[in-house]
């Protein structure tokens, strides 16, 4: 049976340390754009930790919510792409094909989670920082969209290795960088089609809910939390 990659984010465990963000940047060659560009809204973080205050001081409570691409089944970003750069793979990944992307940025508008990022300029690394780039991941050039891939390079490497050794994938051995780096174990990655996997069992948890579920995009990421999370008033 085909894999169906999914994730569970346990908000009760998240401490907002942003280790996932750092790990993701290192793994996926995500360019840092510098303070000036970041202030203009050009910062790229395939995973971000959203921070919201609840209540009034001194009763204030800080909550964190890591948001990454939700790898939706009915992803709104996919159909709007004129060139199929964004589409669903048979393993349930929301693929972003860089070489096919012409940069309409329509997908980023259609995504209600705002987890798609655009290379406004050519990314650059001051020498010798280019030596730390991950050779297994493409360098995206100016004008293309990019987003969380669930570390597809790791998925492919693990599958290739398993096939060479003629064995099945082991649940939990394959992890994207964010889940691997999370000290609190708040991010759990795995195959939703394997009923025995941790992620499949956790996503059935009564604490679980989907982000912006009402839009019907059917995301493959489940958020666990003890109590309902209330969005601050829109106004």
């Amino acid at each position: 049976m085909a894999h169906r990659w999914g994730m569970v984010v346990d908000l009760d465990r998240c401490t907002g340390c942003e280790a996932c963000v750092t790990a993701c940047h290192a793994e996926n060659n995500i360019p840092t754009v510098g303070a000036a560009e970041a202030a203009r809204g050009r910062a790229m973080h395939w995973i971000r930790v959203e921070r919201y205050w609840e209540g009034e001081f001194p009763e204030a409570r800080l909550t964190f919510r890591p948001v990454l691409c939700q790898q939706c089944d009915n992803a709104p970003c996919e159909a709007v792409c004129p060139t199929y750069a964004s589409h669903q793979t048979d393993e349930g990944l929301n693929a972003q094909v860089y070489n096919r992307c012409i940069g309409t940025r329509y997908c980023a508008n259609a995504c209600m989670y705002n987890v798609r990022f655009f290379n406004f300029f050519h990314p650059q690394w001051e020498k010798p920082l280019q030596l730390q780039l991950n050779p297994d991941v493409s360098l995206r050039e100016a004008g293309v969209m990019e987003k969380c891939t669930f570390c597809v390079q790791r998925i492919k490497a693990a599958k290739s290795e398993a096939r060479a050794e003629e064995r099945e994938l082991v649940d939990g051995a394959l992890q994207p960088a964010c889940a691997q780096a999370c000290p609190a174990g708040a991010l759990v990655f795995g195959d939703l089609n394997d009923p025995e996997s941790r992620v499949a069992r956790l996503s059935e948890s009564p604490r679980g809910s989907k982000l912006l579920e009402e839009y019907g995009a059917e995301p493959k990421i489940t958020y666990l939390q003890r109590q309902g999370w209330h969005e601050p008033d829109a106004q």
Binding site: R40, V80, M112, E231
Partner: protein, 452 residues
């Protein structure tokens, strides 16, 4: 030979082709400089990346798409209006049709450029076209941008034909009146038109069919442009009203552009004898109707959002009503309704000057409307953590100004090379009717007297 019946008319209307003032060259020089500045700005953007524009995360669309929708809207001035007037056989249409259709063709060309300018990798824009390639991948026909590609191309092809076909007999007229290089060029353009009865019949029935075909295409074009927004579940984009709302807005801004262009032609090419106050009066009434329709759509759209009280939509709603976009929003209401309504509703104010003032207001207001549809929604998507804002950068402003200059420049050059008023259609309007047909002999004068 020179004393034939309709010669004064033809003399008048081909005069701009043969006589050019110093002012014209000066204006062309100035406008061409502005257009070149825009081209240079685009080159700069191509080299360094689209990041030199003000777009950002999460406002991924800004001035370029605003201008795209605006210009496609302007393009509804010509072909659509002209086709409707042809079909209902409105007798006052004759001097108006060509100068309207030209607006369509040029505005469409300019409008269609903007989605390409705004691409991250514009050199790959041809991937929107369906063609077989080694990659074996075709465009995604589920994407509204591909719908745009097809709709705009169909509309541009149709409009171009709609404009060019009735030009053939006028090219023949210029051919016969000129010598030297002009005669060769216009002779080639006239395609050997002789004016046989067969040719006239084919032309007229062809135009009739084109007029019927082009109206649904024009409606579909702006509906599909609205789909670019309404297909996405972005607050205040995802609205079923967007199709008709955009079409109405397009016709609204289109008529305004037509009035401004006609007033300029009348003044600069001395066409007072052909573009009468009655034309401005009639178009002014149409503009009034569209202004009311626009106000109705805006009210209906805002009311449903306010009543629904859905929190992410309310964020956009309040941002435009009393937030950071409120000044622009209320300026839009003033420009699109408060100014034009009294001017166009009162007969004493519905003069040439009055309609021109109202039209300028409408053009500004409709540009603001497109901006206000795109930017505040993107800046206030459902997760408040991701809210942002947008400010245009010089390169966007330069390119935008350059396209306005390009429009004026193209229009000026066109009026220098082609009689801007269809001569043969004017002649038909002046035809003495044989005894069996009983109709007013001078339709323009008749209409003028029959003013309500």
């Amino acid at each position: 030979m020179n004393r034939t019946r309709n010669n004064p008319l033809a003399d008048d209307l081909v005069r701009p082709l043969f006589h050019t003032s110093v002012w014209f060259y000066g204006a062309v020089l100035v406008l061409a400089t502005v257009v070149l500045a825009g081209a240079a700005a685009w080159g700069y953007q191509l080299w360094y990346g689209i990041g030199v524009a003000g777009i950002n995360w999460p406002v991924f669309w800004g001035f370029y798409l605003t201008n795209f929708v605006f210009w496609i809207g302007i393009s509804h001035a010509g072909t659509l209006i002209s086709a409707i007037l042809r079909l209902v056989n409105a007798r006052w249409r004759r001097p108006v049709t060509r100068c309207a259709e030209v607006i369509t063709v040029f505005a469409l060309m300019i409008g269609a450029m903007f989605p390409i300018i705004h691409l991250g990798r514009p050199w790959l824009a041809f991937w929107l076209a369906p063609y077989p390639s080694a990659r074996e991948i075709w465009p995604n026909f589920r994407s509204p941008l591909v719908w745009d590609f097809f709709a705009i191309n169909t509309y541009l092809t149709g409009s171009l034909m709609f404009l060019l076909l009735p030009m053939i007999p006028d090219f023949a007229l210029v051919r016969d009146r000129s010598t030297g290089w002009r005669r060769r060029i216009y002779g080639a353009l006239a395609l050997g038109w002789q004016g046989t009865t067969k040719q006239w019949h084919r032309l007229e029935s062809g135009m009739q069919i084109m007029a019927i075909a082009i109206i649904p295409v024009a409606v579909s074009v702006h509906t599909i442009v609205s789909f670019d927004f309404s297909m996405a579940t972005v607050p205040m984009w995802h609205s079923t009203i967007f199709g008709p709302y955009f079409v109405a807005g397009a016709i609204f801004s289109g008529i305004a552009a037509l009035i401004v262009a006609m007033a300029a032609l009348r003044k600069l090419l001395h066409l007072e004898a052909y573009l009468h106050p009655v034309h401005f009066e009639n178009l002014g009434k149409l503009l009034l109707l569209m202004s009311l329709l626009w106000a109705y759509f805006v009210f209906a759209e805002r009311l449903t959002v306010w009543y629904g009280n859905e929190h992410s939509e309310m964020a956009v709603f309040w941002a435009t009503q009393r937030g950071e976009y409120a000044p622009l929003y209320w300026a839009m209401v003033v420009c699109n309704f408060v100014i034009p309504f009294p001017i166009l509703a009162l007969r004493q104010l519905r003069t040439i000057a009055g309609t021109v003032v109202a039209s300028f207001a409408v053009l500004i207001g409709m540009w603001l409307e497109r901006f206000l549809i795109i930017v505040p929604s993107l800046a206030h998507k459902p997760l408040p953590y991701t809210w942002g804002d947008y400010a245009p950068q010089p390169v966007e402003i330069i390119i935008m100004v350059a396209t306005f200059a390009a429009m004026i420049l193209l229009y000026m050059l066109f009026s220098k090379f082609v009689p801007i008023i269809s001569i043969w259609e004017m002649k038909v309007g002046n035809q003495p009717h044989p005894p069996v047909v009983t109709e007013a002999e001078d339709e323009l004068a008749g209409l003028w007297r029959a003013r309500p």
